[in-house]
């Protein structure tokens, strides 16, 4: 459903060619691309800076292109296809005529259903600590520090939250305070792996 809507928007965009989008078209593009684009911003851009820096820009498409390419050049882990998607999303949502105040970037992700049951329907997940180490490095380390010893975000090694699994999952999936929601970026298996690895620290 989501992907078909995205596909339609992409086709509409293609037909419209270089012509400026109407407000309604912009909203469609934003709605269709938001889940993937926002996830990429949280997972890839926020390695170096919080997404608030992205959300305060109001730029035309060519300057968004230049910005995304600059970040790729500097090491952002974004494929060519993902870069194209990001530029479409960013130039539809954060264009020069967009209002000063927009809802926070990950508000849609944060609206995810609250966690009320075991993360996996097919019984409890078993985390694999060895996998968790790599997933932590790419997604969590920028804020929580090498070896989970803390940084901009709290120290997670030996953190009491590890013993309260429901709170841990709630925080990772839906965010908390300055921490973004990771529910759309990480699979439940990923989160279980990270949890398993953190218990070894």
């Amino acid at each position: 459903m989501m992907f078909s809507r995205m596909l339609i928007s992409v086709i509409v965009l293609g037909v419209a060619g270089g012509a400026a989008m109407t407000g309604a078209q912009e909203e469609d593009v934003v709605a269709a691309l938001a889940p993937r684009a926002e996830t990429l911003i949280l997972a890839r851009c926020s390695v170096c800076h919080t997404p608030d820096l992205v959300a305060q820009q109001r730029l035309p498409k060519d300057r968004w292109e230049a910005t995304v390419q600059k970040m790729r050049h500097w090491g952002a882990e974004i494929t060519e296809e993902e870069a194209g998607l990001l530029v479409r999303f960013l130039s539809a949502r954060y264009h020069p005529g967009a209002p000063d105040q927009l809802p926070p970037l990950d508000s849609e992700l944060r609206k995810a259903e609250p966690l009320t049951q075991e993360p996996a329907a097919e019984g409890p997940l078993v985390g694999v600590a060895v996998r968790g180490a790599g997933i932590f490095e790419h997604n969590c380390q920028a804020c929580h520090g090498t070896g989970a010893t803390g940084g901009f975000g709290p120290k997670l090694a030996k953190n009491p939250i590890l013993k309260h699994e429901d709170l841990f999952w709630e925080t990772v999936l839906h965010g908390r305070g300055p921490m973004p929601a990771w529910g759309a970026a990480l699979s439940h298996q990923d989160i279980a792996d990270i949890h398993a690895w953190l218990l070894t620290k």
């Binding site: 035309p60 090491g75 809802p103 901009f152 965010g175 908390r176 300055p178």
Partner: protein, 394 residues
């Protein structure tokens, strides 16, 4: 007397109501959406970016001559370095390159040089970027990425004299201990021309407003280039390299540059002749009243600050009719080179309702602060007239 008492009581009630309202709102939005889309007000600063931490000073703070350390704006590309890299026991300042005697100094060694204190404005090159049209990329600073502080340290020229600068030297490269999260991101490496480096007022500061330099402001040592923008004021300084050429790399050769001559908006990105941002431009700010304040019909004290890179402020003028006529403010307080000058004006509002106050300064070089600033691709050096809009009570 009774009027002002009533007013202050009312203001007090308004503040309490505002705080309670704010608290209620804060509780309601916790924890799902801790902050609104735009600006986050956390205590004494207006946060623009949470990480790396970039925050500006609320303009009302500029009613004081010196900006307190904990409210002073914060800007860096990568945030402070790891504590181990700047711990006093291990931290060293190295001086190398085109010199006779390489130096490696502890903080204690450094303090053997003559101690100098200078009051100077430090301002982010992008202060006011949010006001450029068309809009430009970067942290959307408004009015508060600036402050005035007392900086204490040693003259860079004294160190260079001890090291012995060789004749081929033209530039001094400055490197701090801060590092990007990802190693493929270029380091924040800058250089200043030798003439600025050996200027007697260019210092390496280890104290700010009489206190040890705070971590967010570059502990244990930062460069202060009075009269120049803060892209030269390297924090967490560890390496000084004397060389024949400007520093290499993105932050010197591409970033922090402006076109030599004015260009059309949205034009001239590649190929335009660009020069490094150096001296500050003439600028003034209204610190009080604040935007959106309600003021009485009685005389209102309008106050603020004005500064100009290497010149003195000669006049500050205010306009209450969108710039058709201007009235001169009174310059008050301390008058020191490189610091800002405070000014005051007693305003008697003529009518109730919304009123805009504009402010502009003139300096000893004869420059007058312009209505708007020439557009440039990175939005540097904004110095258009300042504006505050208030409501005059009936």
């Amino acid at each position: 007397m009774s009027d002002s008492g009533a007013l202050s009581r009312r203001t007090c009630f308004q503040r309490i109501a505002f705080l309670l309202g704010g608290l209620a709102l804060w509780r309601r939005v916790q924890p799902a959406q801790a902050e609104p889309a735009g600006v986050v007000e956390t205590g004494p600063q207006t946060v623009r970016v949470m990480r790396p931490y970039d925050a500006e000073t609320p303009v009302r703070e500029f009613a004081s001559y010196l900006t307190p350390n904990h409210r002073f704006f914060v800007r860096s590309h990568f945030g402070p370095p790891e504590a181990a890299l700047i711990a006093e026991a291990d931290w060293r300042l190295r001086v190398g390159g085109l010199i006779e005697h390489p130096l490696e100094l502890t903080l204690k060694d450094l303090k053997q040089f003559e101690r100098i204190t200078i009051t100077a404005v430090v301002q982010c090159s992008g202060n006011g970027r949010a006001f450029h049209r068309p809009k430009v990329p970067g942290v959307q600073w408004e009015r508060g990425a600036v402050g005035n502080a007392q900086w204490t340290g040693v003259r860079l020229r004294d160190l260079l004299a001890k090291a012995g600068v060789r004749p081929a030297a033209k530039h001094v490269q400055l490197q701090g201990a801060d590092r990007p999260v990802v190693t493929s991101v270029p380091l924040f490496t800058r250089s200043i021309p030798l003439e600025k480096a050996v200027h007697p007022d260019t210092i390496l500061a280890y104290e700010m407003n009489g206190r040890p330099l705070p971590l967010l402001h570059g502990a244990p040592l930062r460069v202060i280039t009075p009269g120049w923008m803060a892209d030269s004021c390297i924090k967490w300084l560890t390496d000084i390299t004397v060389q024949a050429d400007e520093a290499k790399g993105y932050y010197m050769q591409t970033a922090y540059r402006v076109p030599v001559t004015a260009i059309q908006p949205n034009s001239g990105l590649p190929g335009t002749s660009m020069v490094p941002v150096e001296a500050m431009v003439l600028k003034s700010l209204i610190a009080s009243p604040g935007n959106g304040d309600e003021v009485g019909r009685g005389p209102v004290t309008v106050q603020g600050v004005a500064w100009s890179g290497e010149s003195a402020i000669t006049t500050v003028e205010l306009s209450f009719d969108e710039g058709r006529t201007w009235e001169q403010a009174r310059l008050v307080g301390e008058d020191e080179p490189y610091a800002w000058r405070q000014w005051q004006f007693l305003w008697k509002p003529k009518a109730a309702g919304s009123a805009s106050i504009l402010c502009r300064a003139t300096d000893s070089a004869g420059q007058v602060q312009p209505q708007t600033t020439a557009w440039n691709p990175s939005g540097f050096l904004w110095n258009g007239w300042d504006r505050v809009t208030v409501t005059v009570q009936a």
